[in-house]
Symmetry: C2
Subunit: 95 residues, 2 copies
DNA sequence: TCGATATATCCAAATATTTCGATATATAAA
DNA sequence: TTTATATATCGAAATATTTGGATATATCGA
């Protein structure tokens, strides 16, 4: 595990984290012990459902979130693996 | 040291890292033992001088680079402190 | 001083991202 | 089976980012 990410992927992850709503969505999901439902996210922000869906998709596309579908509900959790790999890359700059 | 970064700052740093050229500029500067001159960066990429200058400015504005001016030359080095703080923030997601 | 060089800034065009309303899709509930 | 609910996708407008040419500024060398 702890795959080495290529530059394209690093770029995508960084871009996904470069938006205030997406950061707040990540924090919200991270606070939950277990997976968080989409409707909960929509409740918390002054954004339309389609906009939230779009932001969540970007986080999923960057592999920062893992999505799970249960019937008509979707839930998400943080992909700790990918964060670990991203941090590993950043460590070359940090220390 | 190792200041806690607010969300706005995390966003700015992530955005600054969310571009292929800026990532490559960071890597280039990081590879140098000592500070890297601007002209060297310009040589390495197929981008105009003004575009490089703009990208470097964004990295400086995000505090990822420290700029030093010596006469008409400018040189840059990685701000390890800020990287460390950014990584510290990301650790809440990673493990 | 005068011309050359290094970098930064200004402006505008090209491109990408964000946002929302409308609609599609799939499932649950009546 | 019909209706309601949850989420995703499409299309278009608003906004932001990227890019390069032109120019400004500051300094070095002749």
């Amino acid at each position: 595990m702890n795959t080495k990410l290529d530059l394209k992927k690093i770029e995508k992850i960084s871009k996904a984290l470069g938006d205030p709503y997406r950061l707040k969505i990540m924090e919200l999901i991270n606070k939950e012990k277990c997976a968080l439902q989409c409707a909960t996210i929509i409740d918390k922000f002054e954004l339309s459902q389609s906009t939230i869906s779009h932001h969540v998709k970007q986080l999923i596309d960057a592999d920062l979130l893992i999505a799970e579908k249960d019937g008509r509900n979707a839930s998400y959790q943080v992909n700790k693996e990918v964060f670990a790999s991203y941090i590993k890359y950043l460590n070359s700059f940090g220390c």
